[in-house]
């Protein structure tokens, strides 16, 4: 298997399976940061985090569509699908890790790194990427089989660029036969709860490109610009707004503006102190045996897994179930909020945090 370029349908499916994992991996950290906010404070931050999390769900669904389109079978239930947070680097060569933690300047920094725009738009060869700063980030998120060489891309944008190239290449060799998946497995717009983008069914090369474009636009911006194709603010810049405590003004942002142009709009209230001090990357063993707290943490994890189970069904032939996942998501929030408002006994002033994955 060549892991810096997609040469076969098997490669493509593998990449897409990784993409599913990647898109999902950002959801627990974003959700947790949102849960940690004290209600009535940081309301704009809460909304931004929510928009991003909801759009990550959209990306997840779009990747499922891509995978289904080529006859693959999305699987959100495999053993390693949920990362073991913090997602340390396998070789420990970087400081950078993704954690389940309260909203803080550090967490924000991590989010920015996750959504970091791609600086170049061509495929990066594995070896060349070795010493790039964000290479490890992605590799950490993509908990690929340690026995095979790793995917190696600078940024998430580059990774999707490779998928795009893969579609193009395979279409040249296979023609329409590439899209042999059952169209009935596609998730269509009416099932998607909300969001700036549309849940596009993928049935041919055109729609595959559109779906990929939407994912990378929403994440890091269209070619790194602040506002995407459809005039939508990219995730990276949404987070930048929090960092600056200011909104971007579309009318002040020109094509080509990027990171070097700070936002010029009205103030956005950010209060890093109005946050429940939850224990970073809490584990079940942090909660006393037999306590209601522990039971609640287990309950949350089980509910989260049920939630993934439901989505998995939606991705595998029962698209209408996607709508039912929404009430479940709301209930998750209720459960998480009860956790973060309770102190962990014996841990001074640390509060409990949701756990997404139970120990075996």
């Amino acid at each position: 298997m060549n892991l810096s370029r997609i040469c076969t349908l098997v490669d493509l499916k593998y990449y897409l399976a990784c993409a599913l994992q990647l898109e999902h991996a950002t959801i627990p950290p974003y959700l947790t940061a949102m849960y940690s906010l004290i209600p009535g404070t940081n309301t704009e931050v809460a909304r931004i985090l929510r928009v991003v999390a909801v759009e990550e769900m959209l990306h997840l669904a779009l990747v499922a569509n891509l995978l289904n389109a080529v006859g693959g079978e999305p699987n959100l239930l495999s053993k390693d699908f949920i990362p073991d947070y913090p997602a340390y680097l396998p070789d420990g060569e970087s400081e950078f890790q993704v954690s389940i933690e309260a909203f803080s300047p550090r967490a924000l920094d991590t989010f920015l790194r996750i959504e970091q725009p791609s600086r170049k738009h061509s495929l990066v060869e594995g070896e060349a990427a070795k010493d790039r700063p964000y290479y490890t980030n992605l590799r950490a998120l993509l908990k690929v089989d340690p026995n095979v060489p790793r995917l190696a891309f600078d940024t998430i944008g580059d990774f999707y660029e490779a998928i795009r190239e893969g579609f193009k290449y395979l279409y040249l060799t296979m023609g329409p036969a590439l899209f042999k998946g059952d169209p009935a497995r596609q998730l269509t717009p009416e099932y998607y709860y909300s969001g700036g983008g549309k849940l596009l069914p993928v049935v041919d090369l055109r729609s595959a490109f559109d779906a990929i474009q939407l994912i990378s636009d929403q994440g890091e911006g269209y070619e790194g610009h602040i506002f995407g194709h459809e005039g939508e603010l990219a995730h990276y810049y949404r987070f930048k707004q929090i960092q600056y405590g200011k909104y971007y003004m579309k009318e002040h942002c020109q094509q080509g503006h990027n990171d070097d142009h700070p936002p010029t709009g009205p103030e956005l209230d950010v209060d890093f102190n109005s946050v429940y001090p939850i224990k970073p990357n809490a584990k079940l063993r942090d909660y006393p045996e037999g306590s209601e707290l522990r039971a609640a943490a287990v309950d949350f994890a089980m509910s989260y897994n049920e939630f993934l189970g439901l989505i998995n069904k939606a991705f595998n032939g029962q698209p209408a179930l996607l709508m039912e996942s929404v009430p479940q998501m709301f209930r998750l929030k209720e459960k998480a909020q009860a956790l973060v408002r309770n102190k962990i006994p014996g841990m001074e002033n640390l509060h409990a945090a949701p756990i997404f994955k139970l120990p075996k």
Binding site: E44, P189, Y191, S194, K250, E251, P266
Partner: protein, 636 residues
């Protein structure tokens, strides 16, 4: 879902605006004004909107402030979320009091209540108008409703019929993003063009609706020799649901999300917040700011930039007088009073000019402004024929928990008795099944909590099971009864009673004819039949001395109580000539060629349909005519 993003740039100030001759000046930023504004500005004409209320909630934090104001309010009336100011007062239902010895209530409530029934209906004064707190039910009027005078000898016929309005109903349904099921509406005698479907699929019936539906199964009543069988069907409503892929000949529908300035919120599909009145926290419910956002976005249109045609909005700006040029009988200008601080009556006066003027201030405020300007119209009907839907409430407890207090406030209704030959003798009605329990009737759930804790001495687990027993079984049926146009029901002004800015307050004179009382009484009878079928414990009681006792009346020896319906209409109704009506079928004033009075005030009847869909349809129709006027006179 699309962002309804509001561009913030180039907000106009009063001084600049007063120097511009706008193509159109609109009073009121409610749904009627917003639709006209968008239609005209998107076609390249300049528009100025005057809005009496505050306008800070285009931003998400602004909207959130309203939400938190609602959370904190002890009296959660429909205006609780919105900033109150004595300079542009909103009627508050809790201000309504029983008249003492039948004397008018001129006290401090916004409405001067002449009686005999004081009316508790309200509206909002804020950018977006009353749609900010409307419930969002959008049934169409029945073809029959347009001809009640000819068909039943009641009220007044319209100068136009259902089929003329049908295409505009479609536009209104698109604008407001209506969810509904066309097939079940067709059963009621509604005609829809071609393969029409609503933009979005019907909202699911609530569990409570389904319990009622099962219990009703096949229930029949006989009235005036005809048999009606009752069933539960979904209410068409303007809130984001699941887009119908069949809409627009298979092109589908893109719902409009939350109004905001910085993409901080997408808006949502309806989540069942059960709070459409008074504020939808996630903006799933349509409100007129969504149309205003589009309208203000027209400033970015290439053609408008190059022609210098702008659309501007001035809020906290109360239109105080409409001036007529005696030589031409045309409106020459409108005076306004603009205030800064909400709690200070300090203000600046000024005037604005336009080629055409549109008053879209709602069916109470529009005639109020006209009458205060000394313009009762040739027919003298300005302010007359005030209509509203009186509601009769009936409530009881379902045999087992039915999950009340969940969902949108109403998802299902019983509509078979909206028309029939009985309308010669008694008013028709439609029934809403309320998902929000007895709140409207009794102040539930708070009243139940207090009763359980204070009187029944419940605590701990007993309290919990007591609450389930008392709340989760609640069923409230709201019977919306038609009220025909009656000249003596009216809005007037009286210079003795003014608000903080010196504008005359509206005075309401309102009575119910026996025709309507018979409909209300029959509603009560039907509610008993329904409760009997369902095995519901009937808890309805009408207290003449209670807080809302002002709506109490007796009919054929029995006591009843009606509630206000918030559907003001009829006060500048349309007709065939300047002698029988105030406006023509395009809502143009008979007396003043360049003046349009737009809104439910133009309606000759309201049948058993909430008024907003119809008034929105009429607004689209008027916009077409105004476009023609502007085009034919452009250059002159």
């Amino acid at each position: 879902m699309a962002y309804a993003q509001v561009p913030l740039r180039n907000v106009v100030d009063h001084e600049t605006a007063s120097k511009i001759l706008y193509d159109v000046v609109i009073v009121g930023s409610g749904v009627a004004g917003a639709i006209i504004a968008n239609e005209l500005s998107r076609n390249g004409f300049s528009v100025l909107i005057l809005e009496a209320g505050p306008g800070h909630d285009f931003t998400i934090p602004g909207h959130e402030k309203n939400l938190y104001r609602f959370y904190s309010a002890v009296a959660k009336d429909s205006n609780a979320p919105y900033p109150a100011t004595p300079n542009a007062r909103m009627p508050r239902d809790f201000e309504t009091k029983k008249l003492v010895n039948g004397a008018p209530d001129t006290s401090n409530s916004y409405f001067v209540q002449n009686g005999p029934f004081p009316l508790e209906s309200t509206y909002a004064k804020v950018v977006g108008g009353t749609t900010m707190h409307w419930q969002g039910s959008t049934p169409r009027m029945l073809p029959d409703d347009f001809m009640t005078e000819s068909n039943y000898g009641q009220g007044r016929d319209w100068p136009i019929g259902y089929d003329e309005i049908e295409p505009y109903y479609q536009m209104a349904e698109r604008e407001m993003g209506v969810s509904g099921d066309v097939e079940s509406q067709k059963d009621l005698g509604l005609r829809f063009a071609g393969q029409y479907v609503y933009p979005m699929q019907e909202l699911p019936l609530s569990y409570l609706d389904k319990q009622v539906s099962e219990g009703l199964h096949g229930a029949q009543v006989s009235l005036d020799g005809e048999i009606y069988s009752m069933s539960v069907r979904t209410i068409p409503q303007a809130r984001n649901g699941v887009p119908n892929p069949k809409y627009d000949e298979g092109k589908g529908y893109q719902p409009v999300g939350a109004v905001n300035t910085h993409q901080t919120s997408l808006g949502e599909r309806c989540q069942g917040n059960n709070n459409c009145v008074p504020i939808c926290p996630v903006q799933a419910k349509y409100d007129a700011r969504k149309t205003l956002a589009k309208a203000l976005g027209n400033n970015a249109l290439e053609k408008n930039i190059s022609s210098g045609k702008r659309i501007d909005l001035l809020y906290q700006t109360v239109a105080s007088k409409v001036w007529i040029d005696p030589a031409t009988d045309r409106v020459s200008r409108i005076s306004y009073k603009a205030y800064g601080a909400l709690q200070s009556s300090e203000h600046k006066s000024g005037e604005v000019r336009g080629r055409i003027f549109v008053i879209a201030a709602n069916a109470v405020e529009t005639p109020r402004l006209m009458l205060a300007s000394g313009l009762p119209s040739t027919s003298g009907l300005m302010g007359c024929n005030l209509m509203d839907h009186p509601y009769l409430l009936a409530w009881g407890l379902m045999p087992k928990p039915a999950g009340t207090f969940r969902g949108t406030q109403s998802t299902g209704g019983i509509e078979e008795l909206r028309s029939g030959s009985f309308r010669r003798n008694q008013a028709a009605f439609r029934v809403d099944i309320h998902n929000d329990g007895w709140g409207w009737a009794t102040g539930s759930p708070y009243s139940d909590l207090l009763d359980l804790v204070d009187n029944q001495n419940k605590f701990s687990k007993d309290l919990r099971s007591g609450l389930v027993d008392r709340l989760s079984r609640q069923l409230l049926l709201a019977f919306m009864v038609e009220l025909p146009a009656i000249k003596s029901n009216r809005v007037t002004v009286d210079s003795r009673y003014c608000d903080a800015l010196g504008n005359e307050r509206p005075a309401i004179t309102f009575d119910l004819p026996d025709y309507v009382k018979a409909g209300l009484a029959y509603s009560r009878q039907i509610s008993r039949t329904i409760f009997q079928r369902l095995g519901v414990e009937d808890c309805t009681h009408y207290d003449p001395y209670g807080e809302v006792g002002f709506g109490y009346f007796t009919f054929a020896g029995q006591g009843y109580l009606f509630r206000g319906g918030n559907h003001f209409a009829g006060t500048h109704l349309m007709g065939h000539s300047r002698n029988d009506s105030v406006v023509n079928s395009w809502q143009r004033s008979w007396d003043h060629e360049n003046l349009y009075l737009v809104g439910a005030g133009s309606m000759c009847s309201i049948g058993t349909a909430n008024t907003t869909l119809t008034l929105a349809a009429l607004s689209f129709r008027s916009a077409e005519q105004i476009l023609k006027d502007l085009t034919s006179t452009s250059g002159t």
